[in-house]
Symmetry: C2
Subunit: 379 residues, 2 copies
């Protein structure tokens, strides 16, 4: 089985809060530019993921088990502050993802420790740090003309009940690791480095559990999730669907991507009280096998005529031909699919969107003297 582009593990967040569990943004739609799933357990993976590359890590990286996703407000005074922040974050991210302490060998004990210390002795845990810019940032730092057209505000959809304090933001960091303490430490370190320039706006933790056999993961509604996502090993598919290309509107974004983060509460008491046949009808797939209606195995071809008209996979499926599939542009992919889901997806009876944000995920840092956002400042 090839690796498949996952719904964001962010969105498989595991915070149960009273009647509703905060989970599963990815449930509502198919592939986003985001972390990819592991096709086998984490133990088979190398201990570190390279920070440097054409693209940022944490997008096609086989997904780690833990996520801390942080959104920040920019409180600095302009472009120079942003530039300094991104340079400092670049240095820190290269060090942290290598599993090293931020502290120099012999620090003056009369000063606050450079590294907060809670990962001393821990494995690097495949930490990745992925950085993005929000739509509101560009005007704030006098770079309004550099805002990519793809980074359009996400419209309000029917049934959205967004909490503004837990939505939006000027910058984001996605920290993924196989150890929550490693991911937490990284967000804490970056927040601390940004003191005076950025302030933490919201943070979301999440988990992602990979079955023993490397099978497709299940969401908290109990269904396999991500079956129809494109394979991350198909470079041409990734280029046309995930990566920003030159000529897309802002060439400085080439090799970057776009990320829509949605936080969704599942009304699990209601869901858990519904019949298995009802649950399967909502998705258009069988719960145990993951097979689409009309099929017997998970990866059997979906025949639209076999799927109930308002079932999730039919409403989400671009094969209906109602949208052009261009995942590298949220305006052409997330927005129309989500609009169709908000209008008619039966899953809406069981879920509530409570947070939304869209991010321009920066191009990768290719060299050791490069830095995050370099093309934004220098081209």
């Amino acid at each position: 089985m090839s690796r498949r582009l996952s719904r964001k593990q962010l969105l498989i967040a595991g915070g149960a809060a009273g009647a509703a569990a905060a989970v599963g943004g990815g449930i509502v739609h198919e592939s986003r530019s985001g972390a990819a799933p592991a096709s086998a357990g984490a133990s088979a993976q190398p201990p570190t993921v390279p920070f440097h590359g054409v693209h940022q890590a944490g997008i096609l990286t086989p997904a780690q088990s833990d996520l801390r996703f942080a959104a920040f407000d920019f409180i600095g005074s302009g472009k120079e502050d942003l530039h300094d922040l991104l340079r400092a974050w670049t240095r820190a991210a290269a060090t942290l993802t290598a599993g090293r302490s931020l502290a120099p060998p012999h620090e003056d004990p009369a000063k606050p420790p450079t590294d907060t210390g809670e990962t001393a002795g821990l494995a690097p845990a495949r930490l990745t740090l992925t950085f993005g810019l929000g739509p509101t940032l560009f005007e704030k730092v006098g770079l309004g003309s550099k805002r990519p057209p793809q980074l359009a505000d996400i419209p309000h959809f029917p049934f959205d009940e967004l909490d503004p304090d837990n939505s939006y933001g000027d910058l984001c960091v996605q920290a993924c690791a196989d150890d929550p303490q490693v991911a937490f430490h990284a967000v804490r370190a970056l927040t601390r480095i940004g003191f005076g320039t950025v302030a933490l706006r919201w943070i979301q933790s999440g988990f992602l559990s990979v079955p023993k056999d490397g099978d497709t993961k299940r969401n908290l509604m109990g269904f396999k999730d991500g079956t129809a996502n494109p394979s991350t090993t198909d470079a041409a598919m990734m280029k046309s669907n995930v990566w920003a290309n030159t000529g897309d509107g802002q060439d400085w974004m080439a090799n970057g991507s776009y990320l829509v983060s949605r936080k969704i509460e599942i009304h699990i008491e209601v869901w858990d009280s519904s019949a298995e046949s009802e649950q399967e009808g909502v998705f258009g797939r069988h719960k145990a096998s993951g097979a689409p209606f009309g099929g017997t195995k998970e990866f059997d071809t979906v025949h639209i005529s076999d799927i109930p008209a308002m079932a999730h996979i039919r409403r989400a499926n671009p094969r209906q031909g109602e949208v052009t599939e261009r995942e590298r542009d949220p305006r052409a992919q997330f927005v129309p699919i989500q609009a169709r889901l908000a209008a008619k997806d039966r899953l809406n009876e069981y879920i509530q969107h409570v947070s939304s944000a869209v991010w321009a995920v920066l191009p990768g840092v290719e060299t050791h003297d490069g830095y995050l956002g370099q093309t934004l400042f220098e081209t």
Copy 2:
């Protein structure tokens, strides 16, 4: 190195919320009756932990990496409802901790699935489920005369700012596993089984990361945490310090224990801005090595004369002789130690207690036809 009784992994909870991270109740005091640390990585452990035994699992079990701790309000009508609940929870816990689905093989698709399904295909992940009763339960179910004297209300301490909605409770379940989805699923299943008899009051997630070399874990203040805790492999020590004994006041509690859960916010911005020498003075230990002042290695003997008078390990250390050390009785252990800490511990400048609860952890279920709380009902 022998295994050491840990501060509750509950209390190394990792939810950063704005300025303060919710963490580290155990930071404030030494050993509690709670989950014990792993002396090596989780991968060295067998895949399941036996549910049946003289004591409940999850107390001396080498600590798993994830915790979901749930507190419930009892909303049933009396003793019979509690009895039925505990029998049903016993059956479910034996199944879940064995890594099995709650669902029978061929369920009627016209009914809600018995198992919510999100752990299908996942490893058992050493799930343990540990059950406790709160002080308020006994009168509610007409068993006021059975309330153990050790299960006294925890007094209000100076600087406590408790959130009542996230404190107290009539029953608790501690779910620990090496996979958050497995722990989450268990709490969800037990909540669902209790529908109409109990309602979820609060839930707390937590993580616990074990260093590569099996060394003592570090808390989110960056210090090794649990160095002075007693060894869990010392049965005599456990009998005198952890387990309720016959003759302690309520014989039905024999082989049970008591658990104090505290949720503490660390003011990490303040902590992170303080000098390393200040941080070390607060604990009375060196940050990198964990050695006490006056020593060079973590497990060096603590000489009280070397430790600043208001340092945490001096205020918490029963070797000062101000309290009788009887960990099987919170009145004799947690309360006086916490009172001393609340009065003078320098750590108070950096932390805030926001949740408190005390629980009678039920004796273990020894046989397959036994059930949780059997001695409460039948003796």
